[in-house]
């Protein structure tokens, strides 16, 4: 029971790392809180649902499609909303209001388009993707059912989402630490004013980061029907709160801290479900309060706020 809870927590936590990554990237670069983050995840989920229902597109390629679509959508959205916001006296506080409004609009429009009921993608779809990959490497037909991991059996969707989340974290790491755009992004994260002074095109860097942030949320959304049971237009708010807890646990503004926060959240959640199930949903709030009291800068301890 303990081993299963720990492994399940690791996979679940990796998924929440993916969810929190985009939110933290946007906060790190722009110092704004995207309260519509969960709604962009929900839109990614509905995109995958729509692609599957209308064109039978498997969720695995849908991850790449969702990422590309939302990066592309994020760029104009950035120029529409964020530069004006950043010119305000208190952009951090105003971002709460702006993105809360955006969240409401997104939820309302999605409700009109898709209705209020739960929607989902058949659970075996990710299993089929795993089986197809295994077949390519082994040369014989593979089972589409659950996957065995270190002697424990998990739904294929969990393993695929864990792998994709791990890969996304790795790619973000490579982007931030091994590409020119990444260096510039980190420079902006470190000190926006100094970055402007050194001639960095901060708007362009921020727009790309904003787009990637939304793309990551949408990519995480593709796995939502598998990891969170089903999707509804109203799911965004809860996701935003949990992902906010995850990034605060890791460290606000530090994308790699998000991985740490996600894994701690995932493992703690699964242990709570095993041993004190009635209280499991209190966990993000308890962790959030504990971190804010004991280590306000997050577990990785990078001070990002300038009071």
């Amino acid at each position: 029971m303990l081993t299963y809870s720990l492994l399940a927590g690791l996979l679940f936590g990796l998924y929440f790392s993916l969810i929190g990554l985009g939110l933290n990237l946007i906060f790190g670069v722009m110092r704004i809180v995207n309260l519509a983050h969960g709604d962009f995840l929900m839109l990614g989920a509905f995109l995958a649902f729509w692609l599957f229902t209308l064109f039978a597109v498997n969720p695995v390629p849908a991850v790449a499609i969702a990422f590309a679509v939302f990066v592309a959508a994020g760029l104009p959205l950035y120029y529409l909303l964020v530069p004006r916001l950043l010119r305000a006296k208190d952009p951090e506080m105003l971002s709460f209001i702006l993105f809360f409004g955006l969240s409401q609009v997104i939820e309302a429009v999605t409700t009109i388009a898709f209705g209020t009921s739960e929607r989902s993608i058949p659970g075996d779809q990710l299993g089929r993707a795993v089986a197809a990959v295994v077949s390519v490497f082994t040369g014989h037909k593979a089972e589409t059912g659950p996957v065995e991991l270190l002697g424990q059996t998990f739904p294929a969707a969990w393993v695929v989402s864990g792998i994709v989340s791990g890969a996304a974290v790795l790619l973000i790491y490579v982007y931030l630490y091994r590409t020119r755009l990444g260096y510039l992004t980190r420079a902006v994260m470190d000190n926006r004013e100094e970055a402007i002074a050194t001639g960095i095109d901060v708007q362009r860097i921020s727009a790309v980061a904003f787009g990637i942030g939304l793309g990551l949320a949408a990519a995480a959304g593709v796995f939502a029907p598998f990891m969170l049971g089903s999707i509804t237009p109203a799911m965004g708010g809860e996701i935003t709160v949990t992902s906010f807890a995850v990034i605060v646990i890791g460290s606000l503004g530090n994308p790699l801290g998000t991985v740490f926060g996600g894994v701690i959240y995932g493992i703690s959640y699964m242990l709570m479900q095993s041993y004190y199930s009635s209280w499991a949903n209190l966990l993000p709030y308890v962790l959030l309060i504990a971190i804010l009291l004991l280590r306000p800068s997050g577990l990785l301890g990078r001070q990002v706020r300038r009071a």
Partner: protein
């Protein structure tokens, strides 16, 4: 002298009739809430649409007959969106009573959103027309301001399930039960009742797993592993529609095949669950058989087929599935229609008396409307059924309990 007396009598009668007509309101205000978003939207919107369908039908006929004024009076629906939030719902229930001054107060669907209306209605001495809020704690001898319309009260709802388990279970080999439930008034009460009925039955059945989870739970993989480790003969999962979708999906994805699996919503919102899980996920699942599957002989209002046709015609593009909750909203309307037809005034306690007078005698597409002394619904009980695959491998619900209604034998253990 006699002529004069007759003339005086006629004048008085005319004056009385005139006064009555003048007193009659231009419309009867029905106040209700619905959740167009959030966790309870999928159980709230069908109920709301069912009620609206009844109102539109009655208004098309010129209104509903109100005995208190001896005439048909149009209905006006005052409805607000609580977005599945109990805090918002509490404010809006107050608004319906104090600002809109509705004649009839109708709760939103489900126990969670009804729970906040119970004390508010009681404080304002308004009769709460409780559509589907089945929590047993709502119905107490000291509160005359509530009646349950369309679902059995949760304290007796699971009785057919526990009767089946305690009578047929041991013979089938069911001795060890695992129960997982969402901790809210609806399923929490059902879990308590199941525990009580099974313990009192002395059938030798024991609980090997008995845990509650928050209603917001959307992931059951670890819990399923723990249930499997307890090696149960039967698994009972009690939750709302979103809980059942997540739970059954996790069962399917984990490749676990419990010998016996009971879940509430496959029978209540079959269309919704099939849409989310695919038909095969429901095969061999036990559930409540509701009036959406059992075509009760309706002595008042539309039959199941007529209502289903009317629903699908009216709400073809509404993205709201037809199921037991859709029937519940319409049933609420039918009960109100009958009650307004016999109530001598719109006084709240007179209305309650009128609704109680229908108990045991009103038969709608939802079965026999019957109330206990506290206003809890005890007539519209749901038998137990099991989904079995038909020739096309599609799930078909077969009633297995009670025996007199059974259309087949339970398949245990599941293949």
């Amino acid at each position: 002298m006699i002529r004069l007396s007759i003339f005086a009598l006629l004048v008085m009668s005319a004056a009385t009739i005139g006064a009555q007509a003048a007193d009659a309101p231009a419309e009867i205000k029905l106040g209700t809430l619905y959740a167009s978003s959030g966790r309870y939207a999928s159980i709230s919107m069908p109920v709301h649409y069912g009620l609206k369908l009844w109102i539109d039908q009655k208004n098309a006929e010129g209104g509903v007959y109100v005995k208190a004024f001896d005439k048909r009076i149009p209905l006006k629906l005052v409805a607000y969106d609580d977005q599945s939030s109990t805090a918002t719902a509490a404010t809006l229930y107050n608004q319906l009573i104090t600002q809109d001054k509705v004649d009839i107060l109708i709760a939103d669907s489900g126990s969670v959103l009804t729970s906040v209306a119970v004390p508010i209605a009681r404080d304002h001495k308004m009769l709460l027309i409780d559509q589907t809020g089945t929590g047993a704690a709502f119905f107490t001898p000291d509160n005359p301001y509530i009646v349950l319309m369309a679902d059995p009260v949760s304290s007796i709802w699971p009785k057919p399930l526990t009767d089946f388990l305690t009578h047929d279970g041991p013979g089938l080999g069911i001795k060890r039960i695992a129960m997982l439930y969402a901790t809210n008034d609806f399923t929490g009460t059902q879990a308590n009742s199941i525990r009580k009925f099974i313990t009192e039955s002395n059938s030798g059945i024991e609980f090997v797993f008995d845990q509650g989870v928050p209603t917001e739970t959307s992931n059951y993989t670890v819990l399923l592993n723990n249930i499997r480790a307890s090696n149960p003969d039967a698994v009972l999962h009690l939750g709302y529609a979103s809980n059942d979708i997540a739970f059954l999906r996790n069962v399917q994805d984990s490749g676990i095949k419990f010998k016996f699996l009971f879940s509430i919503y496959p029978g209540i919102e079959t269309e919704l669950l099939e849409r989310n899980l695919g038909g095969k996920a429901l095969n061999y699942v036990f559930t409540y058989v509701t009036s959406a599957d059992l075509a009760y002989k309706a002595e008042f209002g539309m039959s199941l087929k007529e209502y289903s046709d009317a629903w699908h015609k009216k709400y073809a593009d509404a993205h709201v599935e037809f199921g037991f909750n859709a029937i519940a909203g319409y049933t609420t309307g039918l009960v109100l229609e009958k009650a307004l037809g016999v109530a001598p005034s719109l006084d709240q306690l007179e209305l309650r008396k009128a609704i109680f007078s229908l108990s045991g005698g009103l038969k709608t597409l939802d079965g026999t409307f019957e109330l206990d002394a506290n206003g809890g619904q005890i007539g519209e009980l749901t038998p137990i059924g099991q989904f079995v695959p038909d020739e096309g491998d599609k799930p078909k619900l077969v009633t297995v309990w009670p025996h007199e209604l059974a259309g087949g034998k339970p398949i245990y253990p599941r293949p």
